[in-house]
Symmetry: C2
Subunit: 145 residues, 2 copies
DNA sequence: CGCCGCGAGTTGTACTCTGCAACCAGTACC
DNA sequence: GGTACTGGTTGCAGAGTACAACTCGCGGCG
């Protein structure tokens, strides 16, 4: 495979994944949209962060994040805390309920994805995961595709 | 890295990519949405197919595809041809204009993605592309995430 | 101190994408 | 012919999103 072809393939396959992921997320977990899930996941991973950080990480407009967070807060899954240093920012944290729901969804997602990856060798899994992280870690503006 | 962790990471990173891809697609190519681009790409790859096939491949509702195709046809990028065998189906084909636009977008996308992948060895590129294809080739229902 | 620029977040507005349900048209099988 | 199925369209409603305009708090500079 030529390098340009590989790049092309990476693009196309990532896009297929993206579309299918969005399409099926709602069906699998009606209680938590793909958006909400990823935001909660990020909060858990970072143990709290600002709305602006979420927007930057997912290349979303801050208004979009604001609305999503509002919904998550109304659902009792997320908590806003005032930053004592800077009264402009609100640090977001998972609530106990948020952590619980996130755990449930993660389990069922892992089952679905794990089924697809069941035949993969551990080495392939790790390399694949590594490639994805490496790709996403690119520091530039999120001009992925 | 444990296998479950790798699965988790794959999920999360794929999702990050998915979200960023959608976010930036519109900015890079205002003339062709991510959806339209992928549909056109699929048509080129398969050299024509039915609307239902597109819906199945991307896990989209047939109504959604119908509307997208209508838009693409209005834009003169896609052509519907009656199947002489079965008058229900309409086989979709790229027009010359569609092929041209698709080519332009592909070039600019490849430039953007290629920049990110510039430092990668050819071996890594090919392995990454292979993993993605392998993942998406899973035959089951598109319960990706 | 008071003004100005900046950064975080919210709200108004409009648009796209999407799915579901209801429907029409053509096909296949009895 | 009638019934069931398939491909596709249309009406409707809802989620996600961006952009612009706004508020509020922080920090520098005269």
């Amino acid at each position: 495979m030529e390098a340009a072809t590989a790049v092309e393939t990476i693009q196309r396959e990532m896009t297929v994944f993206a579309r299918r992921a969005r399409a099926s997320a709602g069906r699998l977990h009606p209680e938590l949209s793909l958006v909400s899930y990823t935001l909660l996941g990020h909060l858990e991973e970072r143990d709290g962060c600002r709305a602006t950080d979420l927007a930057a990480h997912y290349a979303l407009d801050k208004s979009t994040v604001s609305r999503q967070v509002t919904a998550l807060e109304r659902a009792g899954l997320v908590e806003r805390r005032q930053d004592p240093e800077d009264h402009r920012v609100q640090v977001l944290h998972l609530t106990a309920a948020g952590r619980r729901i996130l755990g449930q969804v993660t389990v069922s997602r892992r089952a679905a994805v794990g089924e697809r990856l069941a035949e993969w060798s551990r080495e392939d899994l790790e390399r694949f995961a590594g490639y994805l992280m490496r790709y996403n870690a690119w520091p530039g503006p999120a001009e992925d595709a």
